[in-house]
């Protein structure tokens, strides 16, 4: 069931700023996302991990049409989304939906839950009054909330409940793909588990495909079939969750895994304070991880390594000249 490609991102890039001033002087731009190519297969959960500023949220916003790539194409079931979203976002929104990071900020404080959930039913599905009523009951049931909640305002909800409403809204239009942008990072740990379990249940029940974006490695590991690791706007490693977390090839993935705290883990690998993200206005000519990398060589600082298949690993790819061997 995981074979058919649902979404294909081809060499997508997004530059913020740039262009020219009134006098024709070029302005500096920041490459938030650079040359990203990913395939998302029907029915899978693709996890995207990375630290703040790595471009993962920009990637998410491009997939749902809230932002346009400045380079490359995004193809959903054979349709070019970029061109389509420019003309009519509604067609895209029927297929691809989004769950926001901050559950409370993503709900309009002056609307009841009913009004919020009815919007996609009215504008995307054009349902009549009776159908909407039935669908609302169905949605509230799907995210495990009592129907009485429909006539309340967002501020009356806890974070976990608000996020479930956000999920219900994404679900309302009956999409095929849901992009989840840090859906549990604003929640308390006990609530986080509730939401993750609900997401898992919904995926089985409605045959959904997820793109799950998070900075939390353990959360991504627990939900994803495949994982992409992003650093400084590029994908540095991609492969099955088991492979990427079990036998990481890229030194950055290694560093991430060794830095993550876990109950019972006494010492964390810590780098020197010198190591920092490169200046986005002045990106390094070669690999952006060069300055922090323990395995660097001169080639790394000269050429950007391409994302290539790793020898001996099925489907696992890493953008590194000196990848780690299997563990």
């Amino acid at each position: 069931m995981h074979d058919e490609t649902l979404l294909r991102i081809e060499n997508a890039g997004r530059v913020f700023g740039g262009g020219r001033t009134l006098l024709g002087k070029p302005k500096r731009g920041v490459h938030a996302v650079q040359d990203v190519s990913i395939e998302v297969r029907r029915g899978e959960t693709l996890g995207v991990v990375g630290e703040s500023g790595c471009g993962k949220s920009t990637l998410a916003r491009m997939i749902v049409g809230l932002d346009r790539p400045t380079a490359g194409r995004i193809i959903f079931e054979g349709r070019d989304l970029v061109a389509e979203a420019g003309r009519d976002l509604r067609r895209l929104s029927r297929e691809v939906q989004y769950v926001f990071q901050d559950p409370v900020a993503s709900l309009n404080p002056r609307k009841t839950v009913r009004t919020i959930l009815e919007a996609p039913l009215i504008h995307l599905l054009e349902l009549g009054r009776e159908q909407r009523k039935a669908r609302l009951t169905e949605l509230m049931d799907a995210v495990n909330l009592a129907p009485e909640f429909l006539d309340r305002y967002p501020h009356e909800f806890s974070g976990g409940q608000a996020q479930r409403i956000g999920i219900a809204r994404a679900l309302a239009a009956d999409p095929k793909l849901i992009v989840l942008d840090e859906p549990v990072s604003a929640l308390d740990v006990s609530v986080q588990a509730q939401v993750l379990n609900i997401l898992d249940g919904l995926k089985q029940r409605f045959g959904l495909t997820y793109v799950f974006i998070s900075h939390d490695l353990s959360v991504v590991e627990s939900v994803s079939d495949r994982v992409a690791v992003m650093y400084f706007g590029r994908i540095v490693e991609i492969g099955s969750g088991r492979a990427v977390f079990g036998e990481p090839r890229h030194p950055y993935t290694h560093l991430l895994l060794n830095s993550a705290p876990a109950p019972g883990r006494r010492s964390l690998a810590a780098e020197d304070a010198e190591t920092e993200l490169p200046d986005p206005y002045d990106p390094p000519p070669g690999c952006s991880f060069y300055a922090r990398c323990p395995r660097r060589s001169d080639t790394c600082n000269a050429v950007v390594p391409a994302l290539e298949g790793v020898a001996g690993a099925d489907g696992q790819m890493a953008a590194c000249f000196h990848p780690h061997g299997g563990r």
Partner: protein
């Protein structure tokens, strides 16, 4: 799950009183409301009152003084009854002022909304147009408009409305800009709403309070401007009365018959003053920034109102020894027991972690120690906090000031909001040092550089001149740690110091803190929600739930064999790296609200092991093994031991 079965609890009135009651609490605004209501009622009732015709001249009775028979407020130069003219004139002034406000609010808000929502070129174009209108002195512009349209009340109304459009447009544009970038606007877009729908259905309701605030503070001003134009003879034309033209009529005879101009003058004063007081009151009620409590200024130290002095007990070798700490928040008649009896102690070089979810009281515990909980509404109602031989809750304000940042220092979650954006890192470090140590300038600078070196910041001397925004998040947190160490703190209270940081940076900061506390023998009270972080740095852990410690013990013991069901659940519900197959065991239900705590165990409602005796009486925290204590009468380890 539980939530579907159990109907949501009935809606209770929130702790905050509603808008009208808040307004009536403000005596100035209430006064304004009463005066304004009386004026409006009288003006509205003008046709029904037994008043003479305001325009009927009677030269025989000209310039009668007030309180003459038949003319309560006297007559003017043409013998017209001033009372009648005053009431009819107020009616006209009010009508013009209010309609001008409505017109200006409508067009101004529309321009502001569109400019803020669309942004880009449209914004630039609209706002530069508005700037051009603002570049002229308003009265000059109004004069010019009336000059073109010709004098008359209606034209004056247009002129005043136009002149005030920029005021609304600029105010609303700012708010609209902020609201339009909020996530729910993106969400509405993905729900299929068109731009017009988003603008008027999503954005407008959130901007409305600001429009109303702006209107309530503008009406008075508009009435004044109308009066001004009429005074100059450009507004109301004779014989029609309005407050400004009455004032103008009386001007020439100000000395011979002062009442002719003083009476409408007083009316303008009463009207505008009452509207402004009312408007300020409305603003205070509606403005979200003021709602969050900006009007109540907390004092520099939490109020201590202990009912009884608890007996002194000391733990050997403890730098900080807190006993029976209780902190409460008193908000609108409700008492929130945020911390309900906490005992903790930290030894030299030791790291004690307090773990809990949001609302468990872990931060309030930490803030209470140095009196950083805002008062009002917070107050410490019980317990002692011994720093060495000194009870911090009994110490003088001056003594607490000396200790803050010296013997006890803090590291907070967000280094960007902790550091002052306008001063360099060096200035702030030097300030922290000089507040407690009388060193010369050169010595202080050298010490500041040493501190940066201590927290492993490369090129410390150079970095002293950097502003906080020039540093990365990890570097900023290092600076905060350096400040905490500036005066040889005996104990550092670190409140989620790595939560805002990326994992790789978090690892750096944690290992730095761990190394420093060993090098300098400093105790750390470490607040976090993450058991992974606890493992990395804490020697001992206290798990907090609903304002109380439910379990304490060494990190290894608690992680390997949690005794309290809550601790066990809290560990189980977090995914663990390297164990993707593990099922996440969510904790059903929600924590109790701390203003309505149950008598017995606060966790009983969510606990799978709960029995009737759990809910019957308060559960004490009992030691069950060396260095371990649990607040549970059916603990997880008890059974194992019995078997």
């Amino acid at each position: 799950m539980a939530e579907v079965a159990a109907a949501p609890p009935a809606r209770r009135s929130s702790g905050r009183p509603d808008g009208l009651r808040l307004l009536l609490n403000n005596s100035l605004a209430t006064g304004g409301l009463i005066v304004f209501a009386v004026i409006v009622l009288v003006a509205l009732a003008a046709p029904f009152l037994p008043l003479p015709d305001p325009d009927a001249t009677e030269p025989v009775n000209r310039l009668l003084r007030p309180l003459e028979a038949g003319h309560l407020l006297g007559t003017d130069a043409l013998g017209r009854d001033i009372l009648s003219r005053l009431i009819w004139g107020t009616r006209v002034s009010l009508a013009v002022g209010i309609s001008a406000t409505l017109i200006a609010a409508f067009f101004g808000s529309l321009i502001g909304l569109v400019a803020g929502y669309v942004g880009g070129r449209v914004d630039t174009l609209l706002m530069r147009g508005i700037d051009m209108v603002m570049a002229f002195p308003y009265i000059l512009l109004a004069l010019a408009i009336v000059a073109v349209l010709g004098p008359g009340l209606l034209n004056a109304l247009y002129a005043i409305a136009v002149v005030n459009i920029p005021f609304f447009a600029r105010n609303i544009r700012g708010i609209s800009l902020g609201v339009s970038r909020r996530e729910f606007v993106d969400a509405a877009r993905l729900s299929g709403k068109s731009n017009a729908q988003i603008l008027f259905i999503e954005v407008l309701p959130n901007v409305l309070p600001v429009i109303i605030i702006t209107m309530s503070t503008t009406i008075g001003w508009m009435i004044l401007e109308t009066a001004g134009l009429s005074f100059l003879g450009l507004g109301a034309q004779p014989p029609q009365a309005d407050l400004g033209s009455m004032l103008g009529d009386g001007r020439k005879i100000l000395f011979s018959a002062p009442h002719v101009s003083i009476i409408p003058g007083l009316m303008i004063f009463a009207l505008v003053m009452s509207i402004n007081l009312l408007g300020d009151g409305v603003r205070d009620v509606l403005d979200p920034r003021l709602k969050s409590g900006a009007l109540t200024r907390p004092v520099a130290r939490t109020a201590v109102m202990r009912d009884a002095q608890p007996p002194m007990q000391r733990t050997d070798g403890a730098v900080l020894d807190v006993r029976g700490l209780r902190t409460e928040f008193h908000i609108g008649g409700e008492i929130y027991k945020a911390v309900g009896g906490v005992d903790l102690h930290v030894k030299r070089g030791e790291c004690l972690g307090i773990v809990g979810e949001s609302g468990s009281g872990k931060s309030v515990t930490a803030m209470s120690i140095m009196g950083l909980v805002p008062t009002p509404p917070g107050r410490i109602v019980g317990g002692t906090a011994m720093l060495g031989d000194e009870d911090l809750f009994a110490a003088s304000d001056e003594r607490i000031r000396q200790l803050r940042g010296a013997a006890v220092s803090h590291v907070f979650q967000d280094p960007l909001s902790t550091l002052h954006p306008l001063f360099t890192v060096g200035d702030q470090l030097i300030e922290a040092i000089q507040a407690h140590q009388p060193l010369s300038k050169a010595e202080t600078s050298a010490k500041a550089a040493d501190l940066l070196k201590l927290v492993r910041i490369p090129n410390p001397a150079e970095r002293l001149n950097a502003y906080p925004h020039e540093l990365s998040g990890g570097m900023r947190q290092r600076v905060c740690i350096a400040m905490a160490l500036a005066n040889d703190a005996r104990i550092i209270i670190a409140d989620e110091p790595t939560t805002a940081l990326d994992v790789t940076v978090q690892a750096q900061v944690l290992s730095l803190l761990d190394a420093l506390r060993k090098e300098r023998d400093t105790g750390i009270l470490f607040i976090t929600h993450d058991f992974g972080v606890v493992s990395a740095i804490c020697d001992r852990v206290a798990v907090m739930y609903a304002g109380k410690f439910v379990e304490t013990g060494s990190t290894e013991d608690i992680l390997s064999a949690p005794a309290h069901p809550y601790t066990a659940k809290l560990i189980d519900c977090v995914p663990v790296l390297g164990q993707p197959e593990r099922r996440l065991d969510a904790i059903a239900g929600r924590p109790p609200v701390v203003n309505r705590l149950p008598v017995g165990c606060a966790f009983a409602e969510r606990c799978p092991r709960a029995q009737d005796d759990c809910r019957a009486a308060p559960i004490p925290l009992v030691d069950f093994a060396p260095g371990r204590a649990v607040r549970c009468i059916h603990p997880l380890v008890g059974e194992v031991a019995d078997a």
